[in-house]
């Protein structure tokens, strides 16, 4: 089970922006900018039980990637709490990394290594011993049908093959939580399907899956829960049915538009 409570993250503004803001009146300044700081995430909370899929929605710049980076321990939160199966992620990031699997549209493989070497490398970094690694590698390669290109260098693979290898890299250490940041962005239909099938395979398992997306049909197809973030604040956190019920048409797009400021959508 994953719980994210009142998460906050601020970054120092660059001197140029601070100078420009001093010349502007308050209503012309981004509400998230305060003095020398930019509050990228102001108050984000959501939760996801084992075997559930949570879709993280929000317009560009809403704070989705920052929230997921905090969840994956890449960024240190300014405030808030992240708990996985009762353990505090923020207090013990190094240990908790062993329990999280992270994949985004921009994370990649080492292109001069083969798929097998890539996956083995990450398995070893996650502290797996050689026997355990070999056993898990065979299982994951079987599941994702990787054996035929396992010994090819990553830079010689098609996008779909790379995505499958990336998934193998993400799950080789058997994470307790899987975090995916816009994993289908920029992918063709077939490659995107690989990712979506992978997410679906975790439904009903003991692993919660969190993924951010702009594609509402993916949410419709896969998600049990939805969290919507806008300007660094959670605007909605509940089940997919509750989300759908916020609108009159049953269309997720209409609900999304109603919850997010019109200027943001434009």
């Amino acid at each position: 089970m994953l719980e994210v409570k009142n998460l906050k993250k601020r970054f120092r503004l660059d001197s140029k922006t601070i100078k420009e803001n001093k010349k502007k009146s308050r209503e012309h300044i981004d509400p998230r900018e305060e003095g020398h700081w930019f509050n990228a995430v102001r108050d984000v909370s959501f939760g996801c039980d084992s075997g559930q899929v949570l879709g993280l929605l929000g317009p560009n710049g809403a704070g989705k990637t920052t929230s997921l980076r905090m969840l994956s321990t890449a960024l240190q939160p300014t405030d808030g709490q992240i708990v996985i199966n009762g353990d505090d992620v923020i207090a013990h990031p190094l240990v908790m990394r062993q329990r999280i699997g992270f994949l985004s549209g921009t994370t990649s493989l080492y292109h001069r290594l083969t798929v097998r070497e890539n996956v083995q490398y990450f398995g070893r970094l996650h502290g797996m011993n050689e026997d355990e690694l070999e056993r898990e590698l065979t299982k994951v390669f079987d599941l994702l049908d990787i054996h035929s290109f396992a010994d090819k260098k990553a830079d010689s693979l098609s996008t779909g093959m790379k995505q499958r290898a990336n998934i193998a890299r993400t799950v080789i250490h058997q994470p307790e939580v899987i975090v995916l940041d816009e994993p289908t962005t920029g992918l063709d239909v077939i490659s995107a399907k690989t990712i979506l099938d992978f997410i679906e395979s975790y439904k009903g398992s003991d692993v919660p899956v969190i993924f951010s997306t702009h594609h509402l049909h993916e949410v419709e197809k896969l998600c049990d829960r939805v969290a919507l973030i806008d300007e660094g604040i959670t605007k909605f956190n509940g089940s997919l049915d509750e989300f759908r019920a916020l609108g009159n048409t049953g269309n997720l797009y209409d609900v999304f538009v109603n919850l997010v400021d019109e200027k943001e959508v434009a």
Binding site: S72, T73, S104, T107, Y110, L113, Y121, L125, G127
Partner: protein, 410 residues
């Protein structure tokens, strides 16, 4: 940390650019370019010395003895010309290499015990022009000596007395430096210049690849999400860059040694220089450079390679893109070259003042080791101070790598 180090090294060995800059460039390309350059330059000079020189004399009747002396020379071929203007034109077209103009009163001035002025016209812009003047001087040397001896006799002086008139006080130079020290002073400065720059070059591409390269390819974020601390990641990356830099320097030195011992004697034989006392003396003195001396040179290069590895990794981590990182490389090259040039300047010797200037001090220390005149106390101080600088830069690199604003700058 070891897992990251091994993986990074494995990946680099599979990269053609790294292999070219770290292995091929220092081991083969650089030494071959240098030896190729020396060989070609030597052959051009030899050819200039051996080639047959077409020349002309205007006014040969004014001093027939002079003309006869040149005529008797091997590889000097007289060509007829009408006047000076025509001769100059022929020089410029390459038909003749020089023309001598003997004034009408030459014989008379010599008979009167005065000096005569014979003008030599040649094309100074030709690459081998310096050789022409030397060959003509050598050709008329015996004639000049005969004239001098005749004048001494006329004045009732012995040869020794005559020479004493020209040189009443003869300052005799005797160097206390042995061949190795003397040779080291002349060319020893270039050795650290080459080695340190090769070290920088060897570190440059891996640093770009392991820092901003990983950022751009999207593998750095993945690495940051593994249970390896950022400190360990920095140290592993630093060690990989340090290794490639040091390997490049090591291979350069080994390659120069091998190529010198294999191609050097062949080259000298080809140029007709082998067997000369000076060359043999030089080779003997080079043979006195012990394994201990070479080890000391390597020891001094360790902190330098560490400085480059930390500095380049910091810059590479900071840059948003590969292109931005490459833009930072030029100022770093200048920062490294400037102190090296200082070490090459005449009069700059290793003393306590220069021992406090980073990079210059190591270059001067290597030169002193090469000469066999190193002060071990000063060497120790330079090693320790350079190591402290390398450590400080590595600490800076680590601090840099902990900052979210740097890692996620793009």
């Amino acid at each position: 940390m070891l897992k990251v180090y091994i993986k990074e090294l494995l990946e680099l060995t599979r990269d053609k650019k790294t292999l070219i800059f770290t292995v091929l460039l220092p081991t083969l390309i650089m030494p071959l370019i240098m030896f190729g350059f020396i060989t070609v330059a030597g052959k051009i000079t030899k050819k200039a010395i051996d080639e047959s020189l077409n020349y002309a004399i205007i006014g040969s009747q004014n001093y027939t003895e002079f003309s006869s002396v040149l005529d008797e020379q091997e590889k000097f071929k007289l060509v007829e010309v009408v006047d000076l203007a025509g001769a100059k034109e022929k020089i410029n077209t390459g038909d003749i290499r020089f023309v001598l103009v003997i004034p009408e009163n030459t014989q008379q001035r010599l008979n009167d015990g005065l000096s005569a002025e014979i003008e030599l016209f040649y094309n100074d812009s030709a690459t081998t022009s310096a050789v022409i003047f030397r060959r003509v001087e050598r050709a008329i040397k015996s004639l000049k000596n005969e004239l001098i001896t005749a004048r001494y006799t006329k004045l009732g002086l012995t040869q020794e007395q005559g020479e004493a008139i020209n040189e009443p006080i003869n300052l005799v130079k005797t160097s206390t430096a042995d061949e190795r020290e003397s040779f080291g002073e002349k060319i020893g400065g270039f050795l650290p210049y080459i080695l340190i720059l090769i070290g920088l070059q060897g570190a440059m591409f891996p640093a770009l690849d392991l820092g901003v390269g990983e950022k751009e390819r999207g593998t750095l974020e993945t690495l940051l999400l593994t249970p390896v601390s950022r400190f360990e990641i920095v140290i592993a990356k630093f060690l990989v860059i340090f290794t490639t830099s040091f390997v490049a320097v090591f291979l350069t030195l080994i390659s120069f040694g091998l190529i010198t011992s294999v191609f050097g004697p062949m080259m000298l034989a080809d140029l007709g220089a082998s067997g000369s006392t000076k060359i043999n003396g030089l080779l003997d003195s080079l043979a006195t450079i012990s394994i201990g001396d070479v080890s000391l040179m390597f020891l001094m290069l360790i902190p330098i390679a560490a400085i480059f590895a930390s500095l380049l990794l910091s810059v590479s981590i900071y840059a948003r893109t590969f292109k931005e990182a490459q833009n930072y490389m030029s100022p770093i090259m200048i920062l490294a070259i400037f102190p090296l040039i200082l070490a090459l300047l005449p009069g700059v010797k290793l003393d306590w003042m220069w021992a406090s200037v980073p990079i210059t001090n190591v270059a001067l220390a290597i030169k002193e080791i090469f000469k066999g005149t190193i002060d071990m106390a000063m060497l120790g101080v330079i090693f320790v101070s350079t190591t402290i600088i390398a450590g400080a830069l590595l600490a800076l690199c680590n601090w840099w790598f902990q900052r979210e604003q740097v890692l996620f700058r793009n």
